[in-house]
């Protein structure tokens, strides 16, 4: 809660520190003083800043984030419009990431310093190091351009056209999934390694318990903790809008909305979006903490 209040103040201050006048921008290149004054009064920007903040904060608490300067729609509806696309991409990416990371990380931890381990390490280093927009452009060029197998971008809701939805989701999910997956792979590897070396595992092995049982019961369970953390961090990152990937794939997510809002100096939208991201971030942290205690009762935080 303290964090949230802090975030609100910083958001508001930051947003209003940004030079550039949204009203001037709304009028375009053509300028006319009377029109300008009329529009400014209508937007409430002629009020003192402190008053604007408390007005905004009070309404925000009750779920009213104001009205966009640019489109005249409510911020909540703008965000709601974009939420499905962002959620879809974030969860699809995490799925791709885990599908890559869990097997790869576990395999390389079971045979440390083997060929598999080295290949996996190199692959994950490459995945972390490649600029994701570069990968995105190359994938579009290959799969949408040269091969023509997939559409180059855009988004259709699942309910309207499941086939098109899946086709359009594939490339962006792979791009962000590979990057997140590479990060997670390294965590899986090190935490499985750690768990394998832990005393109770060695004890279990010494007792002669079957390997499979030791592995599933003692190792994976312990390795799950760090995995949950890093997955949570990655999910928070993905949910806050992978701006660059969204732009390259014309994916109508929250990141794009926020970037447009910065460019248009659309204060209400920007404030709303960042506030939402902060809330999401805190919620995920909370969920991670809860999962922690669920998985490992020894931990009290």
């Amino acid at each position: 809660m303290v964090v949230l209040a802090g975030v609100s103040v910083i958001v508001f201050a930051l947003v209003h520190l940004v030079p550039g006048d949204p009203i001037r921008l709304a009028l375009g290149t053509r300028f006319d003083q009377e029109t300008y004054d009329a529009l400014r009064a209508r937007s409430g920007l002629d009020q003192p800043l402190v008053e604007q903040f408390f007005g905004w904060f009070g309404r925000a608490v009750s779920g009213d984030l104001g009205v966009s300067f640019r489109s005249g729609e409510t911020v909540t509806s703008l965000i709601a419009e974009r939420l499905p696309a962002t959620l879809t991409l974030a969860f699809a990416s995490i799925l791709v990431a885990l599908l890559i990371a869990v097997p790869l990380g576990t395999l390389s931890a079971l045979r440390p310093r083997s060929v598999v381990d080295r290949v996996a390490t190199v692959l994950s280093q490459i995945g972390i190091s490649v600029p994701e927009f570069w990968m995105a452009i190359v994938l579009i060029l290959v799969f949408a351009g040269t091969l023509g197998w997939l559409p180059s971008g855009g988004y259709v809701p699942l309910t309207e056209d499941p086939g098109g939805w899946a086709q359009r989701l594939l490339l962006p999910a792979v791009v962000t999934g590979v990057v997140s997956g590479s990060v997670i792979t390294r965590f899986v590897r090190s935490s499985v390694l750690e768990a394998l070396g832990a005393d109770h595992v060695r004890t279990a092995q010494a007792k002669g318990l079957p390997t499979r049982q030791v592995f599933t019961w003692h190792v994976l369970r312990n390795a799950l903790l760090p995995l949950v953390t890093v997955t949570g961090v990655q999910l928070a990152y993905l949910l806050s809008g992978v701006v660059v990937v969204e732009i390259v794939f014309s994916w109508p997510g929250l990141g794009q909305l926020a970037l447009q809002a910065v460019q248009a100096r659309d204060y209400p939208v920007l404030q709303g979006a960042i506030l939402l991201f902060a809330v999401v971030f805190l919620l995920i942290n909370l969920v991670v903490d809860l999962l922690y205690t669920a998985i490992d009762p020894r931990i009290r935080r």
Partner: protein, 531 residues
Amino acid sequence: MRNRSDRARVGTDDAAEPVEDPVRTNRLLPPAVAVALVLSACGGGGDAVDTGGGGGGGGGDTLVAAVSAEPDQFDPHVTTAYPSFQVLENVYDTLVVPNAEDLTMEPSLAESWETSEDGLTWTFTLREGVTFHDGSEFDSADVVYSYNRIIDEELSNSFRFQNVESVAADGPQTVVITLTQPTPNLLERIGSFKGMAILPEGAADQVDLTTEAVGTGPFRLESSDASSTVLTAYEDYWGGTPSIGGVEFRYVTEPAAALTALQNGEVQWTDNIPPQQIESLRGDDTIELQTTPSVDYWYMSMNYARPPFDNRDVRRAISFAVDREAVAEAAWFGAAQPNQTAIPEDSFFHTDYAPFERDPDQARQLLAQAGVQTPLTMGLMVTDEFPETITAAQVIASQLGEVGIEVDIETLDFATWLDRQGQGDFDAFMLGWLGNLDPAAYYQEQHQTNGPNNYQKYSNPQVDQLLQQGASETDEDARKQAYDQAAQLIVDDVSYLYLYNPDVVQAWAPGLAGYQIRADKAINFENVELP
């Protein structure tokens, strides 16, 4: 909230109507749709799901158009964004519209008009049998309401009514506009684009115009979300029902992606073409590419209030140092025509005048004559909102470098750019003006002493007088003469350093019929037929 539910009810009524309407011309089409779907499904690839999908309102297929940006909102009187007007062009009508060929004004919602002897009273006779998308009849009260909304609420286009004293109805089919001074370009003012759209009386109070539209145009606004805007054909359109069932404007930011989408059949039309590929695409028979010189111009302007740019010789030196050909080539890969005046040759008001040939020696000499110490540093303000300004500025910088002027390119986001322009905080800036139809608008606002868009603070009494003359002269040829003279002075003084007119570049699927590319970049799908 109440408005929304009202609209929703109207919407459902409308949706139900077509099914019961026996006279719809495209009733026969569904089998064709089915065939198209089967065919495209066999073709494999991403198009199978796209061609038949979308709107679902009309009987014909939906045209999918890839546009580069999302509309900001749909209130025609409020928005200033081109992406919004791409959509609104197909939804709303104005009293008069620019002709597709030469952009002169021709009848639309007004069938005819008369001007009084003194040029102060214009009487418009309105078209009969026009209905709005909500079914209501169009009449003079709607025109009066729409125009007064712009004037009374001081919306962004209110400057277009500067000379208007009153707008009044004289019976249901007649509107009388009374002026304070003769305004020969009144038709351009009320018809050049859909920002002057006619709404049904009271519309702003009944529906949320930012997200909904009630026009008289060939298509109705069906829905809009973060990835596309969908229009459906309006059966009772006064110009006849469009042959396509609807239009889906899909936002594709990346030009390369838009082009790929067109080539593999995902979309059937786009204006988001990478300029560097225009040349190679001309021979590509998987798409139909057309270009035409636009009435947009891009220019550089220097600050008269900031020495040494107040010195005419310095500005002329810069004008001599710039190679417009190279700038146009760099920014548009041959798809732009260098020009030393505002609008291109085909336009009636084009002024044939080109006194500056690239001449670095003369530039250096003029700088010396002005007593300027080189290297002189000049800030040049450009914006990432229009990337071509960044490209052009880099070329200009290297050209001016040759004559001893160091250009410091300042790339700003548009909001900051506009702020600094408004405050006069710049040495020089680069930008363009789009859709220039009548010189009374563009010359007067941009070059008259204290003109609303004269940010460079240019002032030449002779130009002022010529512009005044042009604004009230009713004889076309005399008008043109006045503007020609003014244009020459503007060019000689380098109030604007005009650079080039880019081409309008659009491409569509081969076999798409009835679409016409226009110099004013209005995009009209009314008569389009899908291949």
